[in-house]
Symmetry: C2
């Protein structure tokens, strides 16, 4: 017999079990090194993750080997009919802890200390990114099973071990499991976190990226082709540096991108995305963003409020990530550099594809007489977008609204890039990220997570699964 309204009971179980059972499990995993780059501890850590999956009732727990580190897979089958199903995406690898001497505690000790002004924290490699969240989810599942006496959701656990190397294994993994994934209600990442003001968030999408290297060297147009020249020759020989600077300037002037048709294919937002965008804007703290995150005095075009939020979320970008050529030292070497390069990234929003934007950039350069600019595609990642009306998304939004924290908001699309498109574009299932808790310094020394936040993260995982079952019931699944 299925229970209704079980969330408070599960919260109580989490609160009761957290110190004695849950936190020790979290600390046990962060104490196990697992650096994908060197391979240190990867196999041992995968073994521990398998054990954790089995301990909450998973079956068919196994490793799948694709690129480097094995992917840990396990199935937790619901004990009731017509249960909703999700894929829980996690990772067990961590960034290398170096430099060791900048850690105030050993990185693999799992130290519990008062840390800076964050209160009681675990300071350890992986506590935030992402062993803490992985075990928190498992602890939440454990509390649900022990409280209810059964499991109300089907969960396919996929815990990869090379996220920090670019998640290469996930491409063949998803390809191999496409049919199974396509039948699920969604993919859940216990990933979003409360911001500096304590506001929780849900992520329902992310932009894609097209990353290009541009290179100009001497050619038919002029300019030195083989070696840097003494700059006295600038009087009569062309300059690849000026040519690249000129070519780039045709693409953007000030705050305006001038590439023809750059914004042409954008579509109006759905009503649901429109609402989430306005909701975001309503809690958007412009001064905080400018002063504490961006260190900038103003937004592009002097935008404010909702206009700035819309621009951030829903427009493609054209950014210079790097530019270099010639002499860049402290002295005064005088040369005409024969080769000058730039790195440029374009953030893709629906429905733009990398190919579409690359074509527009090439056409633009050709039209302006810069067909000699050599373009190399270095990265091409599609965007991901989940329908806020989908069950898996609505569950996250309900958990957010009932988190007990004010001013929760959603990113209908987050401006960064990630591998979620593997699920949304390739399998057609929503990808959603949510989770309470506060932490930081990922990829840096003294990675931390508040102890309170870990406990509340478990509760937010339970809440997500709770609303998922509730909505599934309402939908008559």
């Amino acid at each position: 017999m299925e229970k209704a309204d079980w969330l408070e009971e599960v919260y109580s179980h989490i609160n009761a079990a957290f110190e004695s059972e849950h936190l020790p499990k979290i600390l046990d995993l962060v104490r196990q090194p697992s650096v994908a780059g060197t391979g240190e501890g990867i196999d041992e850590c995968a073994e521990k993750v398998m054990e954790l999956l089995r301990s909450v009732g998973c079956v068919d727990v196994h490793l799948e080997q694709y690129v480097k580190s094995p992917v840990v897979v396990g199935r937790l089958n619901a004990d009731v009919e017509n249960a909703p199903g999700i894929l829980m995406y996690g990772m067990y690898d961590v960034q290398p802890p170096e430099p060791y001497d900048e850690w105030i505690v050993p990185p693999y000790e799992g130290a519990r200390i008062d840390f800076e002004n964050y209160g009681e924290c675990i300071v350890a490699r992986g506590i935030m990114n992402s062993k803490g969240p992985l075990v928190c989810f498992l602890n939440a599942v454990d509390s649900i099973r022990k409280t209810l006496g059964y499991m109300p959701v089907n969960v396919l656990f996929v815990v990869e071990g090379e996220e920090e190397l670019g998640s290469e294994s996930m491409i063949p993994f998803v390809e191999a499991h496409k049919e199974e994934i396509a039948k699920l209600d969604g993919v859940f990442l216990n990933g979003a976190r409360q911001d500096e003001q304590g506001r929780p968030a849900v992520l329902l999408g992310n932009k894609g990226t097209l990353y290009l290297d541009l290179e100009v060297t001497g050619g038919e147009w002029g300019g030195p082709q083989k070696i840097d020249l003494h700059s006295m020759n600038a009087a009569w020989v062309g300059s690849p540096a000026w040519r690249l600077v000129n070519a780039l300037s045709t693409m953007r002037q000030g705050d305006d991108i001038l590439i023809e048709g750059f914004y042409d294919d954008l579509k109006p937002l759905s009503e649901a995305d429109e609402q989430l965008t306005r909701r975001f804007a309503s809690v958007f703290d412009e001064e905080m963003f400018l002063n504490e995150r961006l260190y900038a005095s103003r937004f592009l075009h002097d935008m404010h409020g909702e206009e700035a939020v819309r621009k951030l979320m829903w427009t493609p970008t054209l950014n210079i990530d790097g530019i270099w050529g010639g002499y860049t030292g402290p002295a005064t070497k005088t040369v005409i550099p024969y080769k000058v390069q730039a790195k440029v990234d374009v953030r893709l929003v629906p429905p733009l594809t990398a190919d579409m934007m690359l074509e527009k950039i090439k056409k633009h350069l050709n039209k302006h007489g810069y067909d000699d600019v050599k373009i190399t595609v270095r990265q091409s990642s599609p965007w991901s977008k989940s329908d806020p009306e989908a069950l898996a998304c609505r569950a996250a939004l309900m958990a957010l609204d009932n988190s007990g924290y004010d001013q929760g908001y959603a990113w209908p699309i987050f401006p960064g890039t990630g591998p979620a498109y593997l699920f949304t574009q390739r399998c057609g299932v929503p990808f959603v990220s949510y989770g309470l808790g506060q932490g930081g310094r990922i990829h840096a020394p003294n990675e931390y997570h508040t102890v309170k936040g870990l406990r509340e993260n478990e509760m937010s995982c339970a809440a997500y699964l709770y609303y998922l079952t509730k909505l599934a019931h309402e939908a008559g699944q």
Copy 2:
């Protein structure tokens, strides 16, 4: 009693003494290390130079200490009345010889070998730059004195020991000796060399340089001010990289410099400079320059022949020596760099000054709304220009015309930069450079000079002094 037409006799003396006396003196000096940067051998080398000066009859041989290495000074007084007077500028320091293992002979051995396709050569650090030329001049003086029985020219020897560090001592030296130098007929540098085709050259001037660092960072206009931002923020925050690229592009488009008044103050050439320019153009090998020196398919504006030569010699430049900012590695880091920089040099021709051009650049940037671009002057060297009609210049041109080599030419102004302005602008005396001989790889392993060229260089020094006395007599000095 002064002799007339003594040049052939001196040539004979040089030919007779070269192998037995002159070359050993040259080799003795290149065998003495003298690296200004480390100080290695500097004092010993200065001592050897003093001894060499005394050996050709110099008096008042002494060291003057200004910045780092001492300047060796000596006076060779003419033994006849109304003799012309020159300052012979030389240097006794060398570039460090590293990397040793790229030398085919030890750099301080003074090895005489068949070298590549250059025939019999001395391969040694300093043989070309510039101990060879220094001793060759002294050998020529010695042959003149021994042939004539007297010295027909007053020579003030100034041999510095930190040319490779930027000749800092020469500024206070010239200041201290300004009055004495101003009375001379000119300053001679045994420096120009025959080109790849064997054509000898005279240099009568050089351009100046204004070298600027430009920097753009976030500010009142927008953009991040303190740290590189994740490039997802390009959707709503300004970019110092785009701003620098845009600012630079207002200054030059394609082959055209767009700074207002950039060419305004240029004056028509004197008839003498006009003639030398045309003479240069008449022997100018366009294809050789493009294919073998510049590795470029064409000149700016598709210029050819005399037009290209005029542009090279007589116009100011605006060159990007280097540009850099953000991520420049092999991967795909996505950032908005908060600081982007460029190095720009302007070559100055008469009558342009660094201050004039800096003012024009600042005015231009302000006018286009880029008054936030931070400009740092890193170097400011005036041009040098000698009147081809001056005695010291005419002597060099006559020596050139009678060198026995075809197609000799003069640079009325050389497009590079040097310290000659100290003499021409500060003391008002001509500065001229001339000298036969072929060598190369200066500042690199296997610096070389042909043995034949060293002998002919001595003859060209003798010829210069010969025509100087001849012209002085004709002028009734």
